[in-house]
């Protein structure tokens, strides 16, 4: 039996599946938040969600619009100050999975959320790093969620806002970083993981109906495919139902508030 779904839904579902019940995740707004809460509402009911606004172990019934919505605080185990969040919790090494995204990514999963064009004469001034520079190196591992396209998936970043695998190979270790970095890049087309040796992000799973050519066309570098590439299982009915209900609840709540 087939259910229709959007590529963005496939992306969110694939990201949710990557999370474990025992994970402690540092959640950003948007797709990471949807994926984390979808995981919590399906296979990982005890997953711990942390938002950088200070909310520990929060269980929002609707998705937050901002990183510090009252809903996050109301449903949290407790809420700590932002300096404590970055000192005791993130830098303290208490997060197993951090989510990141960005305007630009390169094949080693370094990210740019700072600027397109030169820093001093930007073509597009982006919001900046926020928590990303330290999330990238302090969390046990990093999942990146990004829609795939040539504008974002580039050969060379205009600016490195957060470290992925640097120049590849053992670059992270040479920089003294002890965490794994990006272990999954989940897009609307496929899932990539770093090659064990070169650390180049490599396609390991392709979403249903997507071709290798499509992936290449939407990527600014020559894409590597793993020896064994699987097909991502399509979203189950349950996953879609829970995700859509979550999104509907969210729209209703934010609409009401407006």
């Amino acid at each position: 039996m087939t259910t229709t779904y959007k590529p963005a839904e496939m992306m969110t579902v694939a990201a949710a599946r990557a999370l474990k019940n025992t994970d402690v995740t540092f959640v950003g707004i948007g797709a990471p938040s949807a994926a984390s809460n979808l995981a919590r509402l399906t296979h990982a009911p005890e997953i711990t969600l942390i938002y950088e606004s200070g909310t520990l172990a929060t269980k929002p019934t609707v998705l937050p619009l901002s990183i510090g919505d009252g809903e996050l605080c109301d449903t949290a185990l407790t809420t700590v100050s932002v300096p404590e969040m970055f000192r005791y919790w993130l830098q303290g090494g208490r997060i197993t999975v951090g989510f990141l995204g960005g305007a630009q990514i390169d094949k080693y999963a370094n990210l740019n959320t700072t600027v397109v064009g030169p820093y001093d004469k930007p073509k597009v001034r982006l919001p900046g790093g926020g928590g990303a520079p330290e999330i990238a190196t302090s969390c046990g591992e990093i999942f990146i969620i990004m829609s795939q396209g040539k504008r974002g998936f580039v050969e060379k970043l205009d600016f490195v806002t957060s470290l992925g695998h640097g120049e590849g190979g053992d670059h992270r270790q040479r920089l003294g970083v002890k965490t794994k970095g990006p272990t999954k890049l989940i897009t609307d087309l496929c899932i990539m993981e770093p090659d064990p040796k070169t650390k180049e992000m490599t396609v390991v799973s392709i979403h249903p109906g997507v071709t290798r050519e499509q992936i290449q066309e939407n990527t600014g570098w020559t894409v590597k495919f793993a020896d064994k590439v699987t097909e991502t299982p399509a979203p189950t009915e349950l996953e879609l139902k829970v995700l859509r209900e979550l999104n509907e609840r969210t729209a209703r709540a934010h609409g009401e508030a407006a």
């Binding site: 990183i67 510090g68 009252g70 605080c73 100050s81 900046g128 928590g131 957060s162 508030a257």
Partner: protein
């Protein structure tokens, strides 16, 4: 000892042209009314510090209050760009805006070390990023025990911190609750401070023994401004007005619509008008 006064008096007494001003609030409790008063009083050449410059700084920068911005994430959360901040950075309108860019971790640590009376903060950060290349204030120290090289940033020591809090008591103590952000640290790191509050109560009453309170003698001026955090929110008082964040994108996109809006909604208004803004957003029972 803190002193209760009107918001206009508080801004006059504390904010001077050329000051370094930190207005904080992490989504929650953003001091919008105070920002509007600073705009009305035509303050100039401010260095504005804020982890997450959003609408409040878009407005102040668009009205020409600032010539420098120190920040870690600038945007309209959940919506998009800050058009006025970008216009100032990219086109110098209404004046050139210098930027000093950090990460959240750096900013949060810089407030905490400022509150601690230290000249700098140490943290494990900026590894493998380009930010140190464009921000000469990012330096390093070597751990005397392990040899690890760690990042440093100068402490934030603003001339003035401006925050919005839930309530003050008659003795001038200030209570914070919910998402705390870096507000306590910002006030403790600053030479002077303005705290707007939803209300003044006789006594905070029964409370957690470890309630987050800024004692009277650490606070400068207190001004009662109900609704003063609108369109952000005040835990237990009113909700975030999400629609305005979306609306702002259209208002701020062009200079003329921006100026018209500012004239009508800021220059020709007063702090008292904020109470009206939140009338329909009040949360039911506490």
């Amino acid at each position: 000892m803190s002193r209760l006064m009107s918001l206009a008096e508080a801004v006059e007494a504390n904010v001077r042209d050329g000051d370094t001003v930190a207005m904080e609030g992490f989504t929650h409790l953003i001091p919008h009314a105070a920002g509007h008063e600073i705009i009305r009083q035509g303050k100039k050449r401010l260095t504005l510090i804020r982890m997450t410059p959003d609408l409040i700084y878009d407005q102040m920068i668009g009205m020409g209050c600032a010539d420098k911005l120190v920040f870690s994430w600038g945007g309209n959360p959940g919506v998009g760009s800050l058009h006025r901040v970008r216009d100032a950075i990219e086109n110098g309108w209404p004046n050139k805006l210098a930027i000093e860019e950090h990460s959240h971790s750096a900013m949060a640590n810089a407030y905490a070390s400022g509150a601690s009376g230290l000249p700098f903060a140490v943290f494990r950060g900026y590894i493998g990023t380009d930010l140190p290349k464009v921000n000469p204030n990012i330096k390093s120290v070597t751990c005397p025990y392990t040899g690890e090289v760690l990042a440093t940033v100068p402490s934030h020591r603003p001339d003035v911190a401006v925050i919005h809090a839930l309530r003050a008591d008659r003795e001038g103590n200030v209570l914070l609750e919910g998402i705390l952000g870096v507000q306590k640290e910002a006030v403790l790191a600053a030479r002077r401070s303005i705290v707007t509050v939803e209300e003044v109560v006789d006594d905070f009453g029964p409370r957690n023994l470890n309630a987050v309170i800024l004692p009277s003698w650490t606070v400068g001026s207190i001004a009662v401004v109900p609704g003063g955090a609108f369109p952000s929110y005040a835990q237990g008082y009113y909700k975030r007005f999400n629609a305005f964040y979306k609306e702002w994108d259209g208002i701020a996109r062009e200079r003329d619509t921006f100026l018209a809006w500012m004239k009508e909604n800021v220059l020709n208004k007063r702090p008292e008008d904020f109470a009206e803004h939140v009338r329909n957003l009040r949360v039911a029972a506490e």
